[in-house]
Subunit: 223 residues, 2 copies
Amino acid sequence: MRELYRANLDRLGRDLVEIARLVHRAALDGRTALETADVHGAERVISEDARIDMLQESLDDQAVRLLSLQAPVATDLRTVVASLRMSSSLERMGDLARHIAQLTRLRYPEHVIPEAVRPVFTQLADAAVEVAEEAVLLLETLDLAHADRIHALNVDVNALHLSVFRAIASPDWTASPSTTTDVTLASRYFERFTDHGLAVALKVRYLVTGECHHHRGADANGA
Amino acid sequence: MRELYRANLDRLGRDLVEIARLVHRAALDGRTALETADVHGAERVISEDARIDMLQESLDDQAVRLLSLQAPVATDLRTVVASLRMSSSLERMGDLARHIAQLTRLRYPEHVIPEAVRPVFTQLADAAVEVAEEAVLLLETLDLAHADRIHALNVDVNALHLSVFRAIASPDWTASPSTTTDVTLASRYFERFTDHGLAVALKVRYLVTGECHHHRGADANGA
């Protein structure tokens, strides 16, 4: 019984890593599709999101079964509850990568992002890919250096997100209203993606140190 | 022991209703503030959001304590896990009402929403208020008629959200790029708000009927 219990907890951890890997893959493919206006790449991100959703459901079922049959306490209980939360965050990251891909598909063969803000979006997409990669490493190793890196990337992304709004407000902005909408949403999707990555990092930090840093979201300015 | 256990489960349910009431209040006050460009009302929504956050944390702590000390199984376990999920959704609804209020404050004394789309936003805001009200009633009574109503409101909101994008894309759209960004975000916030309401409705439906309707979010078109 004890061994089965350990095996089930370990499987929960492995499945979380697996979901994080799929999210990282979605961020990578979504970045390429966005930057090259590649509709096939976008389609792939969109269809692969179903796998993330399925894995999350399976993980949640496992977690509830574990709670039911083995009634973990103390650290193990915290781990199971945190896993439920982290799988939600990862699933949302998959959705957001899908949204970026859907914008790419919607505007194909045009580019979603006008040239004026492409450098900012290159940085946003690179940061999102790195957040996802660091989330994989963090869940694999529980080394909090990866949580620190996610935190730093989040600070960068918030600044980039605001710089997108500044670009839109500047007198040089010549894009059409629909492009302005696309740029606004794409920037928001990247900001939300990395913020969910931060939520994962804070959960792991809590599990490792016992310290709770409440996650209030980084979009506190309403923009 | 048994009585204490029941009392704790009941308290979880009451606290969920209390959070839903605060979310309803935020939706009501946020609507008035948006429609009248009332900076004081907006400030109130923003500061009151901290209470929702605190109540959610307290509910989550209670739920984990209940899992730890009383190891519920079967329906009770499902209820506790669903409560954790619903408190997350309600907390996000509070954040989204706050974001609307933050836009109101940011643009004060101007209106956030230009006249051309005010009728659509009146409908969006009314739907959001009603979703929150129905969530309160649903959590109080577990009467699935309220879940049905939330479902119907969600369908309306998705159509309204798309009509905002159509208005922005029309040749008659004359708003500035920054206003276009505000309108895009505000519409997205309302869409997310009601979608989280739908997530609550689906959880309650699952608890009552045992049927699982997966919630994939309603923003499937990436816009």
